[in-house]
Amino acid sequence: MAYKILYIEDLNPASIIADLEGQGFEMMHHNPEIFENTLTLLTEGNFDAILIDFRLTSGTAVFDAPTIAQTARTKSSTEKEAKHTPIFLISTEKNISDYYDDITSNDLFDLSIKKEDLQEDMVKYSIKFKSIIDAYRFIEESKFDLNTILNNKENVFKLDYRIEEKLTSEHFKTNTYFFSKFIYYQVIRSVGQLIGEDVLAARLGVSKKSDGWEILKNAFVKSKYTGIFSEAYDRWWAISIEEFCNVEFGISSLRRLNANQRVEVFNGLGFKDISPIENLEFSTSTNFWTICSDLKYPIDPIDGLELNKRELFPWQEEEYISILAAFKSSDFLKFVKPIDKQRFIDLQKLYK
């Protein structure tokens, strides 16, 4: 299926257009000059997605991307039968792409990327673009049926009912943009219902670098998430991993075993060439369960400093940084909860 993208850009668009065409997209460039013209194209043009540069004012236009996106979003949310289209924001300024990559400050864009990052990794971002476009199509095709969209037939993976409650509310149930974005940020990109490969490795206690990792990982293929966005994000259903360990491998509790014990059990089950995850400096427990948000390295929450980065939904697990990341002046330090900030101050004294 073709993917048609409208690229709104006031500077020279040639290189990005060429790169995206190379990835199989049909590209059309639009130089914004008059607000109404851009808006009409955006809302009535038959595009699968819009790629828009944050700053549009180098020529005659007096508006930036958020202004036009806001108008388009309002139009499609309030008019019946209006078409919803994914909008991807690019910017040369890191603070802008970061700001809009945060769900709490962004009610406009499906994705916010630094221009440089896009140019450096066209393949990765092309997969993301396509998966978002596909998600919109599939959500509409499936008539917003959540279990179909998540490929969770007969609710075998025991989806948290609060996700369903949220997504069947008036606000979401007819708005493809809200629906898609909620799943993207609050389910796919949050540890809880689903976990990524780093957290999976943490829970199994096995280093991703070991030769036998792929074989072990593939043993959990039945727990793999195969719903929307799964082409762009490798995810597993967390509950299913624990159940599988229990039923198939007779492991009553992964959580209580440390990494060496977990590896010992997997060795006993015939998995070879797997090594336990080594601990980070300043971490003392190897009962790994999550990852440090900064270093993306396994930690046991007992060794983590809890973050207050955003309001969590009941199905989302707490986020932490490791003590090592804190000692390395992690950007996340400002999000550490006050109670753990004090603990970090005590640790600083201890290790001085």
């Binding site: 009912y161 427990s285 369960w289 929450p301 007992i302």
Partner: protein, 236 residues
């Protein structure tokens, strides 16, 4: 009556909010999972595994003294048998499970790990036991210790100490009261003092403790909670 599922679920929701409000270091995800499982369920079947409670303050007289932090993993199953006449029998089914494991961690240099665990068992009537088995009893140890190098300590399953049964709330209440000092964790005291918390614990006591303590009184009709079953060492 206090064994209604909706009451338990409502208490669980309030309990999670209290933990959040007072920032007690209990892993809430397992509690949310349980809340999710019980919402819409028709059966009073409480099952949860490995609720992690993190403790960063030293507990007086801990040996070895180098232990600087501990994780306690609490697991629990409690199923209510609706067919039971509460006046005559214990409504808690025989799949009752109450276990907590304590993982202690040394400092950054030694990286040594220490473990201990406790279980509260419901005695299942089988062939005459060779040792005293109070109907509900606490004992140290558990299968999980099989993985451990036991060093110089001797670990025995005895004694089995008579103790009333506990449910999820009483279990967490027990752990918090025993392992976290209200001096080190002033928020804990505030939570214990709050009306909502006390009501949750009182309702749990009514379910789990009133029949147990009634066994000490004349006129008790409950066959499971008879004085001699609860406290078999007593000579008549």
């Amino acid at each position: 009556m206090s064994w209604e599922l909706w009451k338990f679920v409502r208490d669980l929701t309030t309990f999670i909010k209290l933990i959040e409000k007072h920032e007690i270091s209990i892993d809430k995800s397992k509690l949310y999972d349980l809340e999710k499982k019980l919402t819409g369920s028709k059966k009073y079947y409480v099952e949860t595994r490995d609720i992690a409670i993190h403790i960063y303050k030293k507990i007086a007289d801990t040996k070895p003294p180098g232990i600087t932090k501990m994780s306690i993993f609490f697991s629990h199953t409690c199923e209510f048998n609706e067919a039971t006449d509460i006046k005559l029998n214990d409504p808690v089914k025989a799949n009752y499970y109450f276990y907590f494991q304590i993982n202690g961690y040394g400092n950054n240099v030694s990286k040594k790990e220490y473990i201990n665990c406790w279980r509260l068992d419901q005695d299942i009537i089988s062939a005459a036991s060779k040792y005293t088995h109070p109907y509900y009893h606490f004992q140290a140890g558990g299968r999980e210790l099989d993985y451990k190098d036991t060093g110089e300590l001797i670990l025995l399953a005895a004694p089995r100490l008579p103790h009333p049964p506990m449910d999820l709330f009483l279990g967490i209440h027990f752990i918090l009261n025993n392992y976290m000092s209200t001096k080190d964790y002033p928020e804990l005291k505030k939570m214990f003092d709050s009306y909502e918390y006390q009501e949750i614990i009182k309702r749990a006591q009514e379910r789990m403790w009133v029949p147990y303590f009634n066994s000490f009184f004349a006129g008790n009709t409950n066959l499971d909670y008879s004085f001699l079953k609860v406290f078999p060492l007593y000579l008549q």
